[in-house]
Protein backbone atom coordinates (compact mmCIF):
# COMPACT_ATOMS: atom_id res chain seq x y z
CA UNK A 1 0.00 0.00 0.00
CA UNK A 2 1.29 3.42 -0.90
CA UNK A 3 1.67 6.39 1.39
CA UNK A 4 -1.38 7.67 3.19
CA UNK A 5 -1.14 10.91 1.21
CA UNK A 6 -2.58 9.43 -1.97
CA UNK A 7 -5.45 7.85 -0.08
CA UNK A 8 -6.47 10.66 2.19
CA UNK A 9 -6.69 14.36 1.44
CA UNK A 10 -8.05 15.30 4.88
CA UNK A 11 -11.21 16.43 3.20
CA UNK A 12 -13.86 13.92 4.26
CA UNK A 13 -15.97 16.91 5.30
CA UNK A 14 -16.67 17.76 1.65
CA UNK A 15 -18.17 14.29 1.22
CA UNK A 16 -20.27 14.97 4.32
CA UNK A 17 -21.30 18.34 2.90
CA UNK A 18 -22.48 16.70 -0.32
CA UNK A 19 -24.44 14.11 1.65
CA UNK A 20 -26.08 16.74 3.83
CA UNK A 21 -27.18 18.68 0.72
CA UNK A 22 -28.48 15.52 -0.93
CA UNK A 23 -30.41 14.51 2.17
CA UNK A 24 -32.40 17.75 1.95
CA UNK A 25 -34.17 16.37 -1.09
CA UNK A 26 -35.03 13.09 0.61
CA UNK A 27 -38.41 12.41 2.10
CA UNK A 28 -38.77 13.46 5.75
CA UNK A 29 -41.33 10.72 6.41
CA UNK A 30 -38.81 8.09 5.36
CA UNK A 31 -36.19 9.49 7.73
CA UNK A 32 -38.68 9.70 10.59
CA UNK A 33 -39.88 6.14 9.93
CA UNK A 34 -36.39 4.84 10.75
CA UNK A 35 -36.76 6.34 14.21
CA UNK A 36 -40.08 4.61 14.89
CA UNK A 37 -39.00 1.12 13.92
CA UNK A 38 -37.17 0.21 17.16
CA UNK A 39 -39.82 2.01 19.22
CA UNK A 40 -42.57 -0.15 17.75
CA UNK A 41 -40.54 -3.22 18.65
CA UNK A 42 -39.97 -1.92 22.16
CA UNK A 43 -43.64 -1.21 22.79
CA UNK A 44 -44.92 -4.45 21.29
CA UNK A 45 -42.33 -6.84 22.66
CA UNK A 46 -41.15 -5.02 25.78
CA UNK A 47 -44.60 -4.34 27.15
CA UNK A 48 -47.03 -6.58 25.23
CA UNK A 49 -44.89 -9.67 25.38
CA UNK A 50 -43.23 -8.49 28.58
CA UNK A 51 -46.53 -8.86 30.43
CA UNK A 52 -46.29 -12.61 29.77
CA UNK A 53 -42.66 -12.77 30.84
CA UNK A 54 -42.12 -10.51 33.86
CA UNK A 55 -38.44 -10.15 34.72
CA UNK A 56 -35.28 -11.57 33.15
CA UNK A 57 -31.79 -12.15 34.47
CA UNK A 58 -29.01 -10.35 32.59
CA UNK A 59 -25.55 -11.76 31.87
CA UNK A 60 -24.30 -9.64 34.76
CA UNK A 61 -26.75 -11.35 37.12
CA UNK A 62 -29.24 -8.50 37.63
CA UNK A 63 -32.95 -9.23 37.57
CA UNK A 64 -34.61 -6.59 35.33
CA UNK A 65 -38.06 -6.07 33.78
CA UNK A 66 -38.33 -7.58 30.28
CA UNK A 67 -38.68 -4.16 28.61
CA UNK A 68 -35.47 -2.97 30.29
CA UNK A 69 -33.82 -6.17 29.11
CA UNK A 70 -34.64 -5.80 25.41
CA UNK A 71 -34.49 -1.98 25.09
CA UNK A 72 -30.67 -1.79 25.02
CA UNK A 73 -30.61 -4.75 22.64
CA UNK A 74 -33.04 -3.02 20.29
CA UNK A 75 -30.86 0.07 20.46
CA UNK A 76 -27.80 -1.94 19.42
CA UNK A 77 -29.78 -3.73 16.69
CA UNK A 78 -31.06 -0.41 15.34
CA UNK A 79 -27.48 0.86 15.23
CA UNK A 80 -26.44 -2.24 13.34
CA UNK A 81 -29.32 -2.13 10.86
CA UNK A 82 -28.96 1.57 10.17
CA UNK A 83 -25.21 1.36 9.70
CA UNK A 84 -25.48 -1.71 7.50
CA UNK A 85 -28.22 -0.19 5.35
CA UNK A 86 -26.30 3.05 4.86
CA UNK A 87 -23.05 1.31 4.13
CA UNK A 88 -24.38 -1.47 1.90
CA UNK A 89 -27.49 -0.60 -0.15
CA UNK A 90 -26.72 3.09 -0.27
CA UNK A 91 -23.07 2.65 -1.08
CA UNK A 92 -23.74 -0.13 -3.57
CA UNK A 93 -26.14 2.11 -5.44
CA UNK A 94 -23.64 4.95 -5.49
CA UNK A 95 -20.83 2.73 -6.74
CA UNK A 96 -22.79 0.84 -9.38
CA UNK A 97 -25.42 3.23 -10.67
CA UNK A 98 -24.91 6.78 -9.65
CA UNK A 99 -21.16 6.62 -10.35
CA UNK A 100 -20.89 9.12 -7.55
CA UNK A 101 -17.55 7.96 -6.21
CA UNK A 102 -16.00 7.92 -9.63
CA UNK A 103 -16.73 11.63 -9.84
CA UNK A 104 -15.44 12.29 -6.34
CA UNK A 105 -12.21 10.40 -6.86
CA UNK A 106 -11.53 12.36 -10.03
CA UNK A 107 -10.98 15.37 -7.74
CA UNK A 108 -8.34 15.73 -5.06
CA UNK A 109 -10.36 13.46 -2.76
CA UNK A 110 -8.88 10.08 -1.92
CA UNK A 111 -10.71 6.83 -1.17
CA UNK A 112 -10.26 7.24 2.58
CA UNK A 113 -11.96 10.64 2.43
CA UNK A 114 -14.91 9.04 0.69
CA UNK A 115 -15.08 6.15 3.13
CA UNK A 116 -14.82 8.37 6.20
CA UNK A 117 -17.28 10.86 4.78
CA UNK A 118 -19.91 8.23 4.07
CA UNK A 119 -19.43 6.66 7.48
CA UNK A 120 -19.71 10.04 9.20
CA UNK A 121 -23.01 10.61 7.43
CA UNK A 122 -24.28 7.21 8.46
CA UNK A 123 -23.20 7.82 12.05
CA UNK A 124 -24.81 11.22 12.34
CA UNK A 125 -28.15 9.80 11.25
CA UNK A 126 -27.71 6.78 13.51
CA UNK A 127 -26.70 9.08 16.38
CA UNK A 128 -29.91 11.10 16.03
CA UNK A 129 -32.02 7.94 16.09
CA UNK A 130 -30.14 6.70 19.12
CA UNK A 131 -30.72 9.96 21.02
CA UNK A 132 -34.43 9.75 20.21
CA UNK A 133 -34.62 6.15 21.35
CA UNK A 134 -32.77 6.91 24.58
CA UNK A 135 -35.17 9.72 25.37
CA UNK A 136 -38.06 7.29 24.91
CA UNK A 137 -36.26 4.79 27.17
CA UNK A 138 -35.82 7.47 29.80
CA UNK A 139 -39.50 8.41 29.61
CA UNK A 140 -40.50 4.78 30.03
CA UNK A 141 -38.12 4.35 32.96
CA UNK A 142 -35.90 1.83 31.19
CA UNK A 143 -32.58 3.53 31.87
CA UNK A 144 -31.71 1.98 35.19
CA UNK A 145 -28.43 3.80 35.93
CA UNK A 146 -26.58 7.02 35.11
CA UNK A 147 -24.13 5.00 33.01
CA UNK A 148 -26.91 4.88 30.41
CA UNK A 149 -25.48 8.19 29.18
CA UNK A 150 -22.41 6.28 28.04
CA UNK A 151 -24.64 4.09 25.87
CA UNK A 152 -24.73 6.89 23.32
CA UNK A 153 -21.00 6.80 22.44
CA UNK A 154 -21.20 3.02 22.67
CA UNK A 155 -23.95 2.97 20.04
CA UNK A 156 -21.90 5.21 17.78
CA UNK A 157 -18.95 2.85 18.11
CA UNK A 158 -21.17 -0.10 17.24
CA UNK A 159 -22.52 1.74 14.20
CA UNK A 160 -18.99 2.71 13.17
CA UNK A 161 -17.87 -0.90 13.36
CA UNK A 162 -20.76 -2.21 11.27
CA UNK A 163 -20.56 0.64 8.78
CA UNK A 164 -16.84 0.06 8.19
CA UNK A 165 -17.31 -3.68 7.69
CA UNK A 166 -20.46 -3.15 5.61
CA UNK A 167 -18.71 -0.78 3.25
CA UNK A 168 -15.76 -3.11 2.87
CA UNK A 169 -18.03 -6.02 1.95
CA UNK A 170 -20.17 -3.93 -0.40
CA UNK A 171 -17.15 -2.78 -2.35
CA UNK A 172 -16.53 -6.42 -3.29
CA UNK A 173 -20.11 -7.18 -4.43
CA UNK A 174 -21.37 -7.00 -7.98
CA UNK A 175 -25.08 -7.75 -8.15
CA UNK A 176 -28.25 -7.00 -6.23
CA UNK A 177 -28.73 -10.70 -5.65
CA UNK A 178 -25.49 -10.80 -3.70
CA UNK A 179 -26.78 -7.92 -1.60
CA UNK A 180 -29.63 -10.16 -0.45
CA UNK A 181 -27.14 -12.35 1.33
CA UNK A 182 -26.47 -9.58 3.78
CA UNK A 183 -29.97 -10.15 5.17
CA UNK A 184 -29.14 -13.80 5.70
CA UNK A 185 -26.49 -12.70 8.14
CA UNK A 186 -28.41 -9.91 9.86
CA UNK A 187 -31.63 -11.76 10.67
CA UNK A 188 -30.08 -14.67 12.60
CA UNK A 189 -27.75 -12.25 14.38
CA UNK A 190 -30.77 -10.23 15.46
CA UNK A 191 -32.69 -13.29 16.62
CA UNK A 192 -29.92 -15.12 18.46
CA UNK A 193 -27.55 -12.54 19.98
CA UNK A 194 -29.11 -12.31 23.45
CA UNK A 195 -31.49 -9.70 22.10
CA UNK A 196 -34.88 -11.12 23.09
CA UNK A 197 -33.75 -13.59 25.77
CA UNK A 198 -30.52 -14.46 27.64
CA UNK A 199 -28.16 -16.80 25.82
CA UNK A 200 -28.13 -19.06 28.86
CA UNK A 201 -31.08 -20.88 27.28
CA UNK A 202 -28.63 -22.36 24.73
CA UNK A 203 -26.29 -25.31 25.21
CA UNK A 204 -22.73 -24.15 25.90
CA UNK A 205 -21.24 -24.65 22.38
CA UNK A 206 -24.02 -22.52 20.89
CA UNK A 207 -23.28 -19.86 23.50
CA UNK A 208 -19.64 -19.75 22.37
CA UNK A 209 -20.74 -19.29 18.79
CA UNK A 210 -23.11 -16.45 19.67
CA UNK A 211 -20.37 -14.80 21.71
CA UNK A 212 -18.16 -14.73 18.65
CA UNK A 213 -20.71 -12.65 16.72
CA UNK A 214 -20.31 -8.87 16.69
CA UNK A 215 -23.90 -8.07 17.63
CA UNK A 216 -23.66 -10.00 20.91
CA UNK A 217 -20.78 -7.77 21.98
CA UNK A 218 -22.78 -4.69 21.06
CA UNK A 219 -25.89 -5.83 22.90
CA UNK A 220 -23.95 -6.74 26.04
CA UNK A 221 -22.04 -3.46 25.99
CA UNK A 222 -25.16 -1.32 25.76
CA UNK A 223 -27.12 -3.48 28.18
CA UNK A 224 -24.36 -3.25 30.77
CA UNK A 225 -24.44 0.53 30.50
CA UNK A 226 -28.21 1.07 30.59
CA UNK A 227 -28.76 -1.40 33.42
CA UNK A 228 -25.71 -0.15 35.28
CA UNK A 229 -24.16 -3.60 35.71
CA UNK A 230 -20.56 -2.93 34.68
CA UNK A 231 -17.82 -5.49 34.20
CA UNK A 232 -14.24 -5.55 32.84
CA UNK A 233 -15.56 -7.74 30.03
CA UNK A 234 -17.01 -4.59 28.51
CA UNK A 235 -13.50 -3.54 27.48
CA UNK A 236 -13.39 -6.66 25.33
CA UNK A 237 -16.63 -5.57 23.67
CA UNK A 238 -15.14 -2.15 22.93
CA UNK A 239 -11.95 -3.70 21.59
CA UNK A 240 -13.98 -5.99 19.30
CA UNK A 241 -15.54 -2.94 17.64
CA UNK A 242 -12.27 -1.04 17.39
CA UNK A 243 -10.86 -4.00 15.45
CA UNK A 244 -13.93 -4.02 13.19
CA UNK A 245 -13.45 -0.33 12.44
CA UNK A 246 -9.78 -0.71 11.56
CA UNK A 247 -10.21 -3.85 9.45
CA UNK A 248 -13.22 -2.37 7.66
CA UNK A 249 -11.47 0.88 6.81
CA UNK A 250 -8.32 -0.83 5.58
CA UNK A 251 -10.24 -3.08 3.21
CA UNK A 252 -12.61 -0.37 1.99
CA UNK A 253 -9.79 2.02 1.20
CA UNK A 254 -7.80 -0.65 -0.54
CA UNK A 255 -10.77 -1.76 -2.60
CA UNK A 256 -11.91 1.72 -3.63
CA UNK A 257 -8.39 2.36 -4.80
CA UNK A 258 -8.42 -0.76 -6.96
CA UNK A 259 -11.90 0.06 -8.31
CA UNK A 260 -11.37 3.67 -9.22
CA UNK A 261 -7.73 4.65 -9.12
CA UNK A 262 -5.91 1.88 -10.95
Amino acid sequence: MSALGSLYARNARSVVYRGALASKSSNAVVIISGFFEPIFYLLALGFGLGSLIGTVQTQGGAEVPYAAFIAPALLAVAAMNGAIFDSTWNVFFKIKYAKLYEGMLATTLGPLDVALGEITLALSRGGLYAIGFMIVMQALGLNLAWTALLALPAVLLIAFGFAAIGMAITSYLNTFQQMDWINFVLLPMFLFSATLYPITVYPEPVQWFVQALPLWHGVELVRGLTTGVLSPLMLVHVLYYVVMVVVGLVFTTRRLRVLFLS
Binding site: S26, N27, V29, V30, S33, G34, F36, E37, F40, Y41, L43, A44, L45, G48, L49, S51, L52, I53, V56, Y66, Q177, D180, W181, F184, L187, P188, L191, F192, L196, Y197, V201, Y202
Partner: protein, 277 residues
Protein backbone atom coordinates in the same frame (compact mmCIF):
# COMPACT_ATOMS: atom_id res chain seq x y z
CA UNK B 1 -42.41 -10.56 -41.89
CA UNK B 2 -44.18 -10.45 -45.22
CA UNK B 3 -47.57 -9.03 -45.90
CA UNK B 4 -49.89 -11.43 -47.64
CA UNK B 5 -53.43 -10.31 -48.46
CA UNK B 6 -53.89 -6.58 -48.60
CA UNK B 7 -57.65 -6.39 -48.33
CA UNK B 8 -59.14 -4.93 -45.18
CA UNK B 9 -61.23 -8.01 -44.51
CA UNK B 10 -58.21 -10.28 -44.17
CA UNK B 11 -56.54 -8.03 -41.62
CA UNK B 12 -59.67 -7.61 -39.60
CA UNK B 13 -60.50 -11.30 -39.41
CA UNK B 14 -56.90 -12.15 -38.61
CA UNK B 15 -56.77 -9.61 -35.77
CA UNK B 16 -60.08 -10.77 -34.35
CA UNK B 17 -58.85 -14.34 -34.25
CA UNK B 18 -55.48 -13.52 -32.67
CA UNK B 19 -57.10 -11.24 -30.10
CA UNK B 20 -59.65 -13.80 -28.95
CA UNK B 21 -56.94 -16.15 -27.68
CA UNK B 22 -55.21 -13.42 -25.70
CA UNK B 23 -58.47 -12.20 -24.21
CA UNK B 24 -58.97 -15.70 -22.78
CA UNK B 25 -55.49 -16.64 -21.62
CA UNK B 26 -53.63 -13.30 -21.43
CA UNK B 27 -53.28 -13.30 -17.64
CA UNK B 28 -51.38 -16.58 -17.84
CA UNK B 29 -49.20 -15.43 -20.72
CA UNK B 30 -48.23 -12.40 -18.68
CA UNK B 31 -47.71 -14.50 -15.55
CA UNK B 32 -44.99 -16.42 -17.39
CA UNK B 33 -42.99 -13.22 -17.42
CA UNK B 34 -43.36 -12.70 -13.68
CA UNK B 35 -42.19 -16.22 -12.99
CA UNK B 36 -39.24 -15.90 -15.32
CA UNK B 37 -38.06 -12.66 -13.75
CA UNK B 38 -38.41 -14.17 -10.27
CA UNK B 39 -36.05 -16.91 -11.32
CA UNK B 40 -33.05 -14.63 -10.94
CA UNK B 41 -33.88 -14.51 -7.22
CA UNK B 42 -34.87 -18.17 -7.11
CA UNK B 43 -32.07 -19.42 -4.90
CA UNK B 44 -32.54 -16.57 -2.45
CA UNK B 45 -36.29 -17.17 -2.28
CA UNK B 46 -35.89 -20.90 -1.70
CA UNK B 47 -33.30 -20.38 1.02
CA UNK B 48 -35.46 -17.72 2.65
CA UNK B 49 -38.44 -20.07 2.56
CA UNK B 50 -36.52 -22.59 4.66
CA UNK B 51 -34.32 -20.29 6.72
CA UNK B 52 -37.05 -17.93 7.90
CA UNK B 53 -39.23 -20.50 9.68
CA UNK B 54 -36.21 -22.27 11.13
CA UNK B 55 -34.72 -19.10 12.51
CA UNK B 56 -37.96 -17.75 13.93
CA UNK B 57 -39.03 -21.04 15.45
CA UNK B 58 -35.66 -21.70 17.02
CA UNK B 59 -35.39 -18.23 18.49
CA UNK B 60 -39.00 -17.41 19.35
CA UNK B 61 -40.63 -20.80 19.52
CA UNK B 62 -37.88 -22.37 21.62
CA UNK B 63 -35.56 -19.65 22.96
CA UNK B 64 -38.11 -17.04 23.90
CA UNK B 65 -40.67 -19.67 24.90
CA UNK B 66 -38.32 -20.80 27.65
CA UNK B 67 -39.00 -17.46 29.39
CA UNK B 68 -42.76 -18.00 29.25
CA UNK B 69 -43.45 -20.78 31.67
CA UNK B 70 -47.25 -20.59 31.79
CA UNK B 71 -49.55 -21.54 28.94
CA UNK B 72 -50.90 -18.84 26.66
CA UNK B 73 -54.53 -19.23 25.61
CA UNK B 74 -54.40 -22.70 27.14
CA UNK B 75 -51.56 -23.94 24.91
CA UNK B 76 -47.78 -23.78 24.93
CA UNK B 77 -46.21 -20.56 23.66
CA UNK B 78 -44.84 -22.35 20.60
CA UNK B 79 -48.31 -23.60 19.65
CA UNK B 80 -49.76 -20.15 20.30
CA UNK B 81 -47.24 -18.28 18.18
CA UNK B 82 -46.91 -20.82 15.31
CA UNK B 83 -50.06 -20.02 13.26
CA UNK B 84 -49.39 -16.28 13.62
CA UNK B 85 -45.79 -16.66 12.46
CA UNK B 86 -47.06 -18.62 9.47
CA UNK B 87 -49.52 -15.88 8.55
CA UNK B 88 -46.95 -13.11 9.01
CA UNK B 89 -44.44 -14.91 6.81
CA UNK B 90 -47.08 -14.96 4.05
CA UNK B 91 -47.92 -11.32 4.69
CA UNK B 92 -44.37 -9.96 4.62
CA UNK B 93 -43.33 -12.10 1.63
CA UNK B 94 -46.35 -10.94 -0.34
CA UNK B 95 -45.88 -7.32 0.67
CA UNK B 96 -42.24 -7.40 -0.46
CA UNK B 97 -43.24 -8.94 -3.76
CA UNK B 98 -45.76 -6.11 -4.24
CA UNK B 99 -43.48 -3.16 -3.57
CA UNK B 100 -40.26 -2.94 -5.56
CA UNK B 101 -41.18 -5.56 -8.17
CA UNK B 102 -44.36 -3.59 -8.99
CA UNK B 103 -42.56 -0.25 -8.88
CA UNK B 104 -39.96 -1.72 -11.22
CA UNK B 105 -42.66 -2.71 -13.69
CA UNK B 106 -44.05 0.79 -13.80
CA UNK B 107 -40.88 2.74 -13.39
CA UNK B 108 -37.39 1.30 -13.29
CA UNK B 109 -37.64 -0.89 -16.38
CA UNK B 110 -41.23 0.03 -17.26
CA UNK B 111 -41.87 -3.52 -18.38
CA UNK B 112 -45.61 -3.11 -17.75
CA UNK B 113 -45.72 -0.48 -20.46
CA UNK B 114 -44.09 -2.79 -22.97
CA UNK B 115 -46.59 -5.48 -21.95
CA UNK B 116 -49.42 -3.03 -22.48
CA UNK B 117 -48.26 -2.48 -26.06
CA UNK B 118 -48.81 -6.19 -26.66
CA UNK B 119 -52.36 -7.53 -26.84
CA UNK B 120 -52.41 -8.00 -23.05
CA UNK B 121 -54.96 -5.86 -21.25
CA UNK B 122 -53.85 -3.86 -18.17
CA UNK B 123 -56.15 -5.94 -15.97
CA UNK B 124 -54.46 -9.08 -17.18
CA UNK B 125 -51.08 -7.58 -16.30
CA UNK B 126 -52.38 -6.92 -12.78
CA UNK B 127 -53.66 -10.49 -12.59
CA UNK B 128 -50.23 -11.72 -13.64
CA UNK B 129 -48.62 -9.82 -10.78
CA UNK B 130 -50.92 -11.64 -8.36
CA UNK B 131 -50.22 -14.99 -9.94
CA UNK B 132 -46.49 -14.29 -9.57
CA UNK B 133 -46.91 -13.32 -5.92
CA UNK B 134 -49.01 -16.41 -5.24
CA UNK B 135 -46.26 -18.50 -6.81
CA UNK B 136 -43.90 -17.16 -4.19
CA UNK B 137 -46.27 -17.06 -1.22
CA UNK B 138 -47.98 -20.45 -1.44
CA UNK B 139 -44.78 -22.55 -1.58
CA UNK B 140 -43.32 -20.41 1.22
CA UNK B 141 -46.36 -21.17 3.35
CA UNK B 142 -46.27 -24.89 2.52
CA UNK B 143 -42.61 -25.14 3.53
CA UNK B 144 -43.30 -23.16 6.69
CA UNK B 145 -46.19 -25.42 7.59
CA UNK B 146 -43.99 -28.49 7.04
CA UNK B 147 -41.43 -27.09 9.46
CA UNK B 148 -44.15 -26.28 11.99
CA UNK B 149 -45.20 -29.94 11.82
CA UNK B 150 -41.59 -30.98 12.50
CA UNK B 151 -41.55 -28.69 15.55
CA UNK B 152 -44.84 -30.28 16.67
CA UNK B 153 -46.35 -26.83 16.79
CA UNK B 154 -49.66 -27.55 15.03
CA UNK B 155 -51.59 -30.21 16.96
CA UNK B 156 -55.07 -30.11 15.35
CA UNK B 157 -55.95 -32.61 12.59
CA UNK B 158 -57.29 -29.63 10.59
CA UNK B 159 -54.05 -27.69 10.91
CA UNK B 160 -53.14 -28.17 7.23
CA UNK B 161 -55.95 -25.72 6.48
CA UNK B 162 -53.74 -22.97 7.93
CA UNK B 163 -51.95 -23.15 4.58
CA UNK B 164 -55.12 -21.67 3.09
CA UNK B 165 -55.71 -19.04 5.76
CA UNK B 166 -52.07 -17.88 5.63
CA UNK B 167 -51.98 -17.81 1.82
CA UNK B 168 -55.21 -15.83 1.91
CA UNK B 169 -53.74 -13.06 4.07
CA UNK B 170 -50.68 -13.08 1.83
CA UNK B 171 -52.86 -12.39 -1.17
CA UNK B 172 -54.79 -9.72 0.74
CA UNK B 173 -51.48 -7.95 1.37
CA UNK B 174 -50.48 -8.47 -2.25
CA UNK B 175 -53.71 -6.93 -3.51
CA UNK B 176 -53.73 -3.93 -1.16
CA UNK B 177 -50.03 -3.13 -1.43
CA UNK B 178 -50.01 -3.58 -5.22
CA UNK B 179 -52.98 -1.25 -5.40
CA UNK B 180 -51.02 1.43 -3.58
CA UNK B 181 -47.67 0.81 -5.28
CA UNK B 182 -49.27 1.04 -8.71
CA UNK B 183 -50.28 4.63 -7.95
CA UNK B 184 -46.71 5.68 -7.11
CA UNK B 185 -45.10 7.64 -9.95
CA UNK B 186 -42.10 9.04 -8.11
CA UNK B 187 -40.01 6.85 -5.82
CA UNK B 188 -39.50 8.91 -2.68
CA UNK B 189 -39.03 5.99 -0.34
CA UNK B 190 -42.75 5.25 0.02
CA UNK B 191 -41.95 1.55 -0.04
CA UNK B 192 -39.84 1.81 3.11
CA UNK B 193 -42.60 3.83 4.75
CA UNK B 194 -45.20 1.14 3.96
CA UNK B 195 -42.96 -1.53 5.38
CA UNK B 196 -42.15 0.44 8.54
CA UNK B 197 -45.47 2.12 9.26
CA UNK B 198 -47.95 -0.50 8.08
CA UNK B 199 -46.52 -3.97 7.60
CA UNK B 200 -44.23 -3.95 10.63
CA UNK B 201 -46.66 -2.49 13.19
CA UNK B 202 -49.20 -4.96 11.86
CA UNK B 203 -46.72 -7.76 12.51
CA UNK B 204 -46.02 -6.49 16.04
CA UNK B 205 -49.46 -5.40 17.23
CA UNK B 206 -51.82 -7.96 15.69
CA UNK B 207 -51.76 -10.55 18.42
CA UNK B 208 -48.82 -12.29 16.77
CA UNK B 209 -46.52 -12.63 19.79
CA UNK B 210 -49.08 -12.17 22.54
CA UNK B 211 -52.88 -12.17 22.75
CA UNK B 212 -54.43 -8.91 21.62
CA UNK B 213 -56.01 -8.64 25.08
CA UNK B 214 -52.54 -7.90 26.53
CA UNK B 215 -52.57 -4.57 24.73
CA UNK B 216 -54.28 -1.59 26.34
CA UNK B 217 -57.82 -1.26 25.02
CA UNK B 218 -56.98 1.90 23.05
CA UNK B 219 -54.47 -0.06 20.95
CA UNK B 220 -56.61 -3.13 20.32
CA UNK B 221 -58.31 -1.56 17.31
CA UNK B 222 -55.03 -2.09 15.42
CA UNK B 223 -55.73 -5.79 15.64
CA UNK B 224 -59.38 -5.55 14.63
CA UNK B 225 -58.62 -3.71 11.38
CA UNK B 226 -55.50 -5.74 10.72
CA UNK B 227 -55.90 -8.54 8.19
CA UNK B 228 -53.01 -10.26 9.93
CA UNK B 229 -54.93 -10.50 13.22
CA UNK B 230 -57.91 -12.05 11.44
CA UNK B 231 -55.67 -14.52 9.65
CA UNK B 232 -53.72 -15.38 12.83
CA UNK B 233 -56.89 -15.97 14.83
CA UNK B 234 -58.33 -18.06 12.02
CA UNK B 235 -55.06 -19.97 11.94
CA UNK B 236 -55.27 -20.59 15.69
CA UNK B 237 -58.78 -21.98 15.36
CA UNK B 238 -57.54 -24.32 12.66
CA UNK B 239 -54.18 -25.28 14.14
CA UNK B 240 -55.09 -25.96 17.79
CA UNK B 241 -58.85 -25.52 17.95
CA UNK B 242 -58.77 -22.19 19.80
CA UNK B 243 -62.22 -21.64 21.31
CA UNK B 244 -64.00 -18.78 19.60
CA UNK B 245 -67.65 -18.05 18.71
CA UNK B 246 -68.55 -19.20 15.20
CA UNK B 247 -69.62 -15.70 14.14
CA UNK B 248 -66.15 -14.40 14.94
CA UNK B 249 -64.48 -17.10 12.86
CA UNK B 250 -66.87 -16.28 10.03
CA UNK B 251 -65.95 -12.60 10.44
CA UNK B 252 -62.25 -13.43 10.03
CA UNK B 253 -62.95 -15.16 6.74
CA UNK B 254 -65.32 -12.42 5.56
CA UNK B 255 -62.89 -9.59 6.37
CA UNK B 256 -60.07 -11.30 4.51
CA UNK B 257 -62.18 -12.07 1.45
CA UNK B 258 -63.66 -8.58 1.30
CA UNK B 259 -60.21 -6.95 1.60
CA UNK B 260 -58.88 -9.26 -1.10
CA UNK B 261 -61.66 -8.30 -3.51
CA UNK B 262 -61.33 -4.58 -2.74
CA UNK B 263 -57.58 -4.64 -3.27
CA UNK B 264 -57.83 -6.72 -6.41
CA UNK B 265 -60.46 -4.52 -8.03
CA UNK B 266 -58.61 -1.37 -6.96
CA UNK B 267 -55.27 -2.60 -8.29
CA UNK B 268 -56.78 -3.65 -11.62
CA UNK B 269 -58.33 -0.20 -11.94
CA UNK B 270 -55.08 1.62 -11.28
CA UNK B 271 -53.26 -0.62 -13.75
CA UNK B 272 -55.89 0.23 -16.35
CA UNK B 273 -55.70 3.93 -15.64
CA UNK B 274 -51.92 4.12 -15.75
CA UNK B 275 -51.40 1.92 -18.77
CA UNK B 276 -54.04 3.58 -20.96
CA UNK B 277 -53.45 7.25 -20.12
Amino acid sequence: MTVTGTSEVDYRAEALEAGARVRRFGSWYAAEHRLRSMRAFGLTLVLLAFANPLLYLLSLGLGLASLISSDVNGVSYLTFVAPALLASAALTGAAEESTYPVLTGFKFNAVFFSMAASPLAPKQIANAVFVGTAARVVPTVVVYYGILVLFQAVPSPFSALTILSASLVGMVAAALVTWYTATVTEDKGQMAVIMRFIIMPMFLFSGTFFPLAQLPLYLQWIGWISPLWHASELGRVLSYGMAEPAWLTATHVAVLVVLLVIGWVGARRVFHRRLTA
